[in-house]
Symmetry: C2
Subunit: 243 residues, 2 copies
């Protein structure tokens, strides 16, 4: 279980609560042992170093399991951050020297993002001093994690325009309004309800169930599921080369 001291793996864990796109973050605190003064109080994604003999993808799965308890989750490598100054901010150096003196100054981090149904993660939150934050209202972040999250969001926005990955953020059964909110929030755009539904109706992989929402104080919505199998069988290629 020896760690590779100059390679880490970070995982931007995205969740969706029908209103916001959120990121799961862990608090980082450091108190001066003499004065008791709080010297660092911020959040990080708390990745891990890769282990000797471990594939990068496995390291990412390990990080995700560790923070959410979840396995077999959508996980995508999107970028590797390798600038020499990424850990050199004063407070980060203080943190590393205090807590991880064996870690080098130049650590490259292979970054993944994952999409989880956040209702499945809740139990772990309190246990680990870990909290969801809307990507639009991030707290103060350590290292270069703000940049990593920003870049992750850009890759997610691109990917969700082309691939049916939004469903990973929703419960297995969902309504079209939930799905539409998801796209609106992630892409930061407004969509027309009727046109959206027309578009979804063409997607054979979004399958209506004989089931309705329950316990809502309005007309109950129909419930849908996503089928990756159907998607793989019916997907089309698109050409664009942007005008």
């Amino acid at each position: 279980m020896e760690i590779i001291s100059n390679i880490s793996v970070d995982c931007v864990i995205f969740g969706f609560d029908n209103t916001c796109l959120n990121v799961l973050l862990t608090k980082r605190e450091l108190t001066d042992p003499l004065t008791g003064e709080l010297m660092i109080e911020d959040y990080t994604m708390q990745g891990h170093h890769a282990l000797v003999g471990e594939n990068l993808d496995d390291a990412a799965k390990r990080v995700l399991k560790d923070k959410t308890g979840l396995e077999d989750i959508f996980l995508k490598q999107f970028y590797t951050f390798g600038d020499t100054d990424r850990l050199l901010k004063e407070k980060d150096q203080l943190w590393l020297k205090t807590k991880f003196p064996m870690v080098r100054n130049h650590v490259i981090t292979v970054a993944y993002y994952s999409l989880v149904d956040s209702s499945k993660v809740k139990p772990y939150q309190q246990y680990q001093n870990t909290k969801w934050f809307p990507v639009k209202m991030l707290p103060e972040l350590g290292f270069d994690h703000e940049k990593i999250i920003r870049v992750a969001l850009e890759y997610l926005q691109e990917e969700i325009r082309k691939e049916p990955i939004g469903f990973e953020l929703l419960p297995e059964k969902f309504t079209l309004t939930q799905l539409q909110n998801l796209y609106e929030v992630i892409l930061d755009i407004k969509l027309d309800r009727r046109n959206f539904r027309k578009k979804v109706a063409q997607m054979k992989h979004v399958i209506p169930l004989n089931e309705k929402q329950k316990g809502v104080a309005h007309k109950p919505a129909q419930v849908f599921i996503f089928s990756r199998d159907v998607y793989n069988r019916t997907k089309k290629e698109r050409l664009d080369f942007s005008v």
Copy 2:
């Protein structure tokens, strides 16, 4: 100039010769010092290890400069290959033990691809035992470089559908037929000439010059240039979330 022994940078260098999309590769040869027998004869991309104190992007620029002599070239990080078995094939181990005994078994490589006007590269080819190969007819490759090139091509195909990067593969001045061939070859599709030209006509960043092809045995084509400035000022966003 100390190297980082477990991190390398590979660069898939793409070029275009109006017929094929090519990759620049360097021969790798190993002869048995006793028998004189040729033990290894194949090609690799010949990346380099990152250097201590060097940003990853700078390492990639260095690799590109080293192989092509070119600077300020389109360069895009697309994936980091980190499987533990990527250098473990028998002949690769033989190569490493003979030539680079200080290199570890588990090296992760951050892969970039670059797009170059291959007419600018020629002078360097003979000097460095380096050759262009069509991506559709690759020679035997060392390490996991065949996989890396295949993945690079997938990323390139995606990117070129959305961003005006094809121009990087053409000379500054080009004809619409050249441009069309480029798209057809990279995307492996057939395009209708009239519809293609209609589409390009909408792109304000493809600018006709008062200049025609010379010395061709047919009606000379009009010459165009690409303007990134104009592109940045006029680009539109697209939405899709694939049907």
